[in-house]
Symmetry: C2
Subunit: 219 residues, 2 copies
């Protein structure tokens, strides 16, 4: 992104909360991890209740080529042994000391699950249900599912919160709870990986943001 675009994009993000008519790109993703391990006693992310899916989603959420998305927040609610639930929240605006490789994130996840600090990451005991209640007060909630409303006809204005399941999918009870606050959204007929859904949604929201930004410049 050339510097002029960077500056205007930043200014645009600073302005958006006060300008309801503009399509914005603020975004949050919530991954419901059925078996994600809730302590730091693991050597391998895959064998720690598929924490490798959490890692893949983190990369999809935040990493651009040589940069981190500042406008994105990621939540993983881990429901595996020994002390579920644990809520890991990662804020792109503060996150640093990170790379895209799995070894880096194995160390970071092990560290934060042992209650040690890392810039931009917090861990608490918020359940999926309580997290959703809080987020629904300020944002539109979308539950990703193949059979949902097609993304091309969704507004995605303001702050959007997207809910994803892991490789087993969202438990029925969690889905029914989420549907009290939001609606199902579909990216099409292919059953994408959770991380791919995030990459695609980030892309679609980027397009919307830049279209709105171009319109702002023209008006």
């Amino acid at each position: 992104m050339p510097t002029t675009w960077k500056a205007s994009y930043k200014q645009f993000l600073l302005n958006i909360s006060a300008r309801s008519k503009v399509v914005t790109a603020l975004r949050e993703f919530i991954l419901f991890s059925r078996l994600g391990r809730t302590d730091s006693h693991f050597t391998d992310l895959h064998d720690a209740g598929r924490l490798d899916i959490v890692y893949e989603c983190v990369v999809a959420c935040f990493f651009l080529s040589h940069g981190i998305r500042k406008d994105t927040v990621f939540h993983a609610v881990l429901n595996g042994p020994p002390v579920p639930p644990l809520h890991v929240r990662i804020d792109g605006a503060i996150l640093h000391d990170v790379r895209t490789d799995q070894m880096t994130w194995t160390q970071i996840l092990r560290k934060v699950l042992a209650a040690k600090p890392h810039p931009g990451i917090t861990v608490d005991r918020t359940s999926f249900e309580n997290l959703l209640k809080t987020r629904a007060e300020q944002s539109s909630i979308y539950i990703l599912e193949e059979g949902g409303k097609d993304v091309s006809s969704a507004e995605l204005n303001g702050t959007s919160v997207f809910i994803l399941g892991d490789h087993v999918g969202l438990p029925k009870k969690a889905e029914m709870f989420a549907l009290r606050f939001g609606e199902k959204l579909s990216l099409g007929r292919q059953p994408y990986l959770a991380a791919s859904c995030i990459t695609i949604l980030n892309y679609l929201l980027d397009r919307k943001t830049f279209q709105a930004l171009s319109k702002e410049k023209r008006d």
Copy 2:
């Protein structure tokens, strides 16, 4: 995807080569890896000339939730020590015994770079230039770059071949060579990771395929 869609999608892919007016989803990706190691003497993909980027691209190319894309081919041209270039070709139609995790692909890449077989993967000494010449005979070539023609105005009919650089980008010489056979294509103003570009292109081609399929059913 429900079974009826699966069956009709497969039939559709079998029919497409004979029906030039239909938009198809056949796709190939070529990653130019500047420093990707060309032997099997490594323990960690990141330290092996960023073979972790090759791994990330492979996952983005082939993996759906509980399935592999059969209509996709991935090439990595490795230009690192000790014996460059090496051309790794992965064909989704034959690929099996794979998972999405990094450990699995560390083992597979180490195996094929030691000249041992794996279903769906071949390794030979084709250079980037010779690979491109062969592919350009049958396909449209697109070089991914932020400043290129916007993807929304590209046709992407027939078999599309997309060329990507690693974290350093495509060398100028390789880019100039590729431009003799194709054109620059942009996904927008964000500098996406190579793997993210593949996920986004797969998504856009999926949408095109299903639109064409829906039209076929209507006509």
